[in-house]
Assembly symmetry: C2
Homo-oligomer: 159 residues x 2
DNA sequence: TATTGTTATACTCTATAACTATA
DNA sequence: TATAGTTATAGAGTATAACAATA
């Protein structure tokens, strides 16, 4: 005896017990975003004592390793739009972490430099950031971490 | 003759020729974020013909593979807050891609299902998403892509 | 009492147009 | 004319509080 026909187009009201995420997990974008959010979550926690958000950290780190860097250079390097950088720099300047000095060759531009306080803060903050990497080596071996970072760079660097 | 003393604390106004990003590039968070943004950028372009943003795609893909999934389940799976999901679902419902049906066992909840149109759209959209993966295999070998995704999952999955 | 879905709302992040001063 | 920095502002994304209906 043939089983009763089921209307093909009417969804049966059944409940989902466990969510199947297998398809999404085949996608690089999904995995990259999830991983980025996980790492950045921890990063945010560890940087709270310094009063630095991830962007602030990136900006100050670039200023530290590139004294005299201009706003424009920061924007292109970090993918920030110039109007959105202004407020960040203002805040960091009010906290006396950076200072704007005249650019030696371009009268329109300002060179950014860390103050003494900014240098001290970033020495500690970068050490904390480096320690965070070491902590993730509990999920990943040091070799896996190196491989991962290398592959990520292959993804975002222009070919 | 001794060279003239340079005041140690006064930053010399020098220009930065090329930005040194080496420190940031040692950080997993920085690399993961850059890679995620690069992939998602391409994803956004490819999904434009379908009128889907990355979140819309994730939602519809989960509904496709989990017919009857509830809003709550979507939120916990994707890390979206319930108030922010409401508008998305409303829009997708107005486009007649999903429909809300009563949940078989919980009178408070609604089970989400793809409409016939939604099924057709997502068949194509998921195929496009899978092709995008293949395209990144020009920067990465298939083996590297598998390794990368495996390592990313190690990073964001709870230990 | 706790949870699902919802509204209202605020806050942050990101994006666009336009101005100024220098090149 | 083109560019660096800035202002003002709009839009998207993300957050919290509170409520009705149901468990």
């Amino acid at each position: 005896m043939p089983r009763p026909a089921v209307p093909a187009r009417t969804p049966l009201p059944r409940a989902v017990e466990e969510v199947d995420t297998r398809f999404l997990e085949t996608l690089l974008g999904y995995n990259a975003r999830r991983a980025a959010l996980a790492v950045i979550d921890v990063f945010v926690q560890r940087m709270e004592p310094y009063g630095l958000k991830p962007v602030d950290f990136s900006v100050l780190s670039l200023v530290r390793h590139n004294p005299g860097i201009t706003s424009r250079q920061l924007c292109t390097t970090l993918g920030i739009l110039p109007p959105n950088l202004v407020g960040m720099i203002n805040t960091l300047e009010k906290r006396e972490l950076v200072e704007r000095l005249p650019h030696p060759r371009d009268g329109r531009a300002m060179g950014l430099h860390l103050t003494t306080g900014g240098q001290k803060l970033m020495r500690d903050a970068e050490k904390t950031a480096a320690e965070l990497e070491a902590d993730f080596a509990s999920r990943l071996t040091p070799a896996e971490l190196r491989t991962l970072i290398g592959l990520l760079q292959k993804v975002y660097r222009e070919p």
